[in-house]
Point group: none
Chain length 221, copies 4
DNA sequence: CATGAATGAGGCTTCATTCAT
DNA sequence: AATGAATGAAGCCTCATTCAT
């Protein structure tokens, strides 16, 4: 996981107890932990966060539910790990695009590609954001996600407005409204998108970019 | 509620028990019932279906939770009423558009407008569909909603393909993929759309139609 | 229960839900509630607060543990009710003594008698204070008890010092230290005192007052 | 630890397992063990026996909770060690006083001083006895403590009655009742007594002895 | 039509303890 | 002598639902 600071990152639980000098031990521990996170992520994606019980997760791992608390101090901290890892990766990728620069059309296209590329390895996290955010947002510990999203909005809207300023994009559309439509369309695709299907992540991204920039109509605008 | 048949309509449970011979009484009862449904809908929209307890609903109505069961025989039947009423209205409107006919571009634009128009009075239902469908879909009683959606998909995809056939729409896009993107983008807007804001339902619909047909770019395609 | 205000009184749980116009209902409800409190009090006294489970209480009442939460919103709120009721009664009695006035020896003797008199009907509360206060004090909700005790200390110390000022009490003893010894000796007696035994509350109080004022020695001081 | 026989001493469990043939090793082990007992004692005194988890103790020692079981075979055996060491020391001191002999007033005064002197180094044990005995007494393994207390009661009551017989002490007081009051008052002082405060152990003992023998009043009895 | 009480299933979490490494 | 993982029992609490009054 690439923790980018900026207040992101899960509220990790008192790992202080597990000392820190040994080598193999902590690597293995972390492997076990990541395995459990992956199992939980799949269940959260499939059944939803609330409907997934810690027993479901433990069953999947072949242990008792209480044993999960050797690795995590709450169900929340598991989903936190899932979500923060997703946001960290996406933010890092977006930052890289911005640093590479380019005209707004290129930047926007790359941002779209970032999303679809991140969607594949973080399918569960995106699923949770789509289905369970309305529940999770009530917990203070997830405030950092709302703040991360606000920052992302500023980034996209900035590019759209820059494009309108240089005449690349139509002037009669609302930048913020447009951003939200783009964002939602992309992420909500997680509900049906199958990388193994006819179109892979790049394919869907290209399809989406095509429609986004030029619409579905033929002929002159 | 306009029950359009076709398997739609909530699975109302043993309404025979309380629907005795009274006339005026049942009108009042029905008003009370609709009031309770509205209260529940708002809570479902705000906190999510699972996170809303029957006690929350009862509190809002100023009664005890057990008393709700004089009006509904389960929490599921409440949300069923909310969702079926939304789908009934939308299906009816879509059918009307199809009957009016017209070229695919016109029809598609009208279908988009239907959605945004329905979104306003059925905000809660759309919210529930966006946030809680992943949970609700597991119950057999809601199968009818999945079937309704399949029918709607056929309807839209049919129009898009007709448009591609007549050269109105680009040939290099995937009709089903495009439909899903359109659908998701529209409904997910319920998360931020505020009819009292800068743009009303028609305004947002127009904005969306503009981008959909012609993209956000300027200049030749 | 005589709620004397002054920040005392348990954090009573949202009784707002149970409306308030009916007569017999709320009286009965309150009777049931008090019955449960009494059962819990006896268990807390016998086994300790922590070692008493909500199941123990429910079993004693012949209901399921979850059903307790129809009457209380937590185990803490039950013990709160027990303790606040005890403190309220004691504070009220002490206030009455102060208002009657008299020389410090008389007042002190009456305060002692107050304690032993209150001990009998509130045996469980005193037991909990002796055995479980070290645990309960960690919860903010019980801060009011610590504050009540501070006020009582001021009251007693005031009387002892007044007695020293008028030459009634020895000058070579520490008022605060003496108060604490008196207080502790009295309340800790709950561990062995049995009202049905050889001495009743008044008898033990008199015995204690005799030793307190004149010591156990014979002959000149 | 001075194990005085008479059923005292902790129920040490299978120490044969870890007490192999090493000499220097067992001294070090014993030091480590005593260190852990001291850490545990402080936590028990502060938070109570039940509320202190073995993990709390292990954290304090900088090890994992499972590792404690190389030194003790249960949480009970730790508190047993704390309490038996306290009782052993007190009993030995009391025996020495009895052996020195003297008139009941002198003996009683010395017994009181014994208590306050023992209280300081065994603060935690006394705290546990005050706060957690009601819980611990349910375990057979602590029966020996109840028996030790009975023996002590006989010892004190014997001295009081001897004093009443020789006319040193008032005849109108109950020996057993008086003993319990003295005992409770002394030990419960652990809740507020601070050796570093205005009065040290001897000072508090003298204060207490003065009030005990002559009361707080001035003038003739 | 509502109340008040209860059910029963289940949820998350804690914790003393065990044991292979 | 310690770790890291797990157990198993239990704890407090929640919630949809039922039902006599």
């Amino acid at each position: 996981m690439v923790s980018t600071g900026k207040g992101s990152g899960p509220h990790r639980d008192g790992s202080g107890a597990s000392g820190g000098g040994r080598r193999r031990g902590s690597v293995l521990a972390s492997e076990r932990r990541e395995h459990l996170v992956r199992l939980a992520a799949e269940l959260f994606a499939e059944k939803g966060y609330q409907a997934t019980t810690v027993r479901n997760i433990a069953d999947e791992a072949g242990i008792l539910s209480g044993s999960l608390y050797h690795h995590f101090d709450s169900k929340e901290s598991i989903v936190d790990e899932i979500l923060s890892s997703f946001f960290d990766e996406l933010n890092a990728a977006n930052k890289a695009v911005l640093e590479r620069g380019g005209d707004p059309r290129t930047v926007l296209a790359e941002l779209v590609r970032n999303c679809f590329r991140t969607l594949v390895p973080h399918r569960a996290a995106v699923m949770v954001m789509q289905n369970d955010w309305n529940y999770l947002r009530r917990f203070d510990r997830f405030d950092y996600l709302a703040r991360a999203e606000e920052e992302t909005e500023r980034l996209w809207v900035g590019q759209i407005e820059r494009g309108q300023g240089t005449g690349l994009f139509r002037d009669d559309i609302d930048a913020r409204l447009t951003y939200r439509m783009i964002r939602d369309t992309i992420w909500v695709a997680v509900r049906w998108f199958q990388p193994a299907g006819r179109l892979d992540a790049e394919g869907v991204a290209d399809h989406y970019i095509a429609v986004l920039f030029d619409g579905i109509s033929t002929g002159p605008r």
